[in-house]
């Protein structure tokens, strides 16, 4: 199963420029997902950056790699059947991380590929793990990520 960008918008509440999943190249609901996000120099994180810095300063922020991974995990979770499209009045949130290691730098032009599996779903919380690659190079390993769905009313009240 694959998802194009329109289908991703249907199942994630985040929008430009915070929508950090471009397409899903493999999805087995309830089990695993492989999702891609292309990094470009036109993203807001490069907007205020001066010229002439050492090359490493242009590395894509790790926080956005984590967020992109989390959004891909959320797409998988939405397709586990626990929270279908009808429930998207709910706010999807990352509830926690454990043992997420940064193992390589990412630069504009790179395509992140998140390979994620669901380990457990308990009381509406989904526990996932996996890794992020650029080509064959692993750039992050994610020991555990917890995604939670919370009713919008509980967030805004």
């Amino acid at each position: 199963m694959r998802l194009d960008h329109a289908a991703i918008r249907d199942c994630l509440p985040v929008r430009h420029p915070m929508l950090l999943v471009d397409r899903v190249v493999a999805l087995e609901p309830g089990v695993s997902i492989t999702a891609e996000k292309a990094v470009t120099g036109s993203e807001p994180c490069y907007q205020r950056l001066p010229d002439g810095l050492p090359p490493d300063r242009y590395a894509y922020p790790s926080a956005l790699v984590l967020e992109s991974f989390g959004q891909a995990a959320a797409v998988l979770w939405v397709h586990t059947g626990r929270a279908g499209a009808a429930e998207l009045a709910e706010v999807l949130m990352l509830a926690g991380f454990r043992r997420c290691r940064v193992e390589g730098r990412v630069f504009p032009g790179d395509v992140l590929r998140h390979e994620i599996r669901i380990d457990q779903v308990v009381h509406g919380n989904a526990f996932s793990s996996g890794a992020t690659y650029v080509g064959k190079r692993r750039v992050a390993s994610m020991g555990s990520l917890v995604a939670a769905s919370r009713p919008r009313s509980s967030v805004t009240v």
């Binding site: 420029p17 915070m18 922020p61 926080a63 706010v91 990352l94 454990r98 043992r99 940064v102």
Partner: protein, 148 residues
């Protein structure tokens, strides 16, 4: 409390200016560096307009970015490189951080001697009403990240 100058804009790719104010807290006998870092959640911050279109919430990962920027401001560069996150050991996000709220993070940096090439950060975040919103533990380092 002694203020530390915020890097604005940060001299590296960053999703937003993740901290508005940094104050040094009194040093502990053990030699760690303790700071309080404050950030107000603003819909006008880059990326927050999309998180979410009709409800502004600070993404939890931007607390990771906050620790990175605080470490960069407090500890500074070495050989041209600022400290970067090498491992997010743990993070728990307890309550939403909504637009307009002030998020105060107490950050303890250990292993900050000049000969250490890594530091550990223990972080507790509260919002304006004093309720805890997140706890994090990270390892940061200068230079190349861990090999796979």
């Amino acid at each position: 409390m002694t203020a530390v100058e915020v890097l604005d804009p940060p001299p590296f790719a960053a999703p937003l200016r993740a901290v508005d104010r940094i104050d040094l807290l009194p040093a502990e006998p053990g030699g760690s560096t303790r700071v309080r870092a404050v950030k107000t959640v603003r819909v006008t911050d880059p990326y927050l307009g999309g998180h979410f279109p009709d409800l502004t919430m600070l993404p939890g990962v931007f607390l990771v970015e906050k620790v990175r920027q605080v470490a960069a401001a407090v500890l500074g560069p070495r050989d041209g490189a600022y400290p970067e996150v090498r491992e997010l050991r743990s993070a728990r996000f307890l309550l939403p951080m909504l637009g307009g709220e002030e998020i105060s993070s107490d950050i303890e940096l250990t292993g900050t001697g000049t000969d250490a090439d890594e530091v550990e950060a223990a972080v507790r975040c509260r919002r304006g009403d004093g309720r805890p919103v997140a706890t994090l533990a990270l390892r940061l380092g200068w230079g190349a990240p861990d090999a796979p």
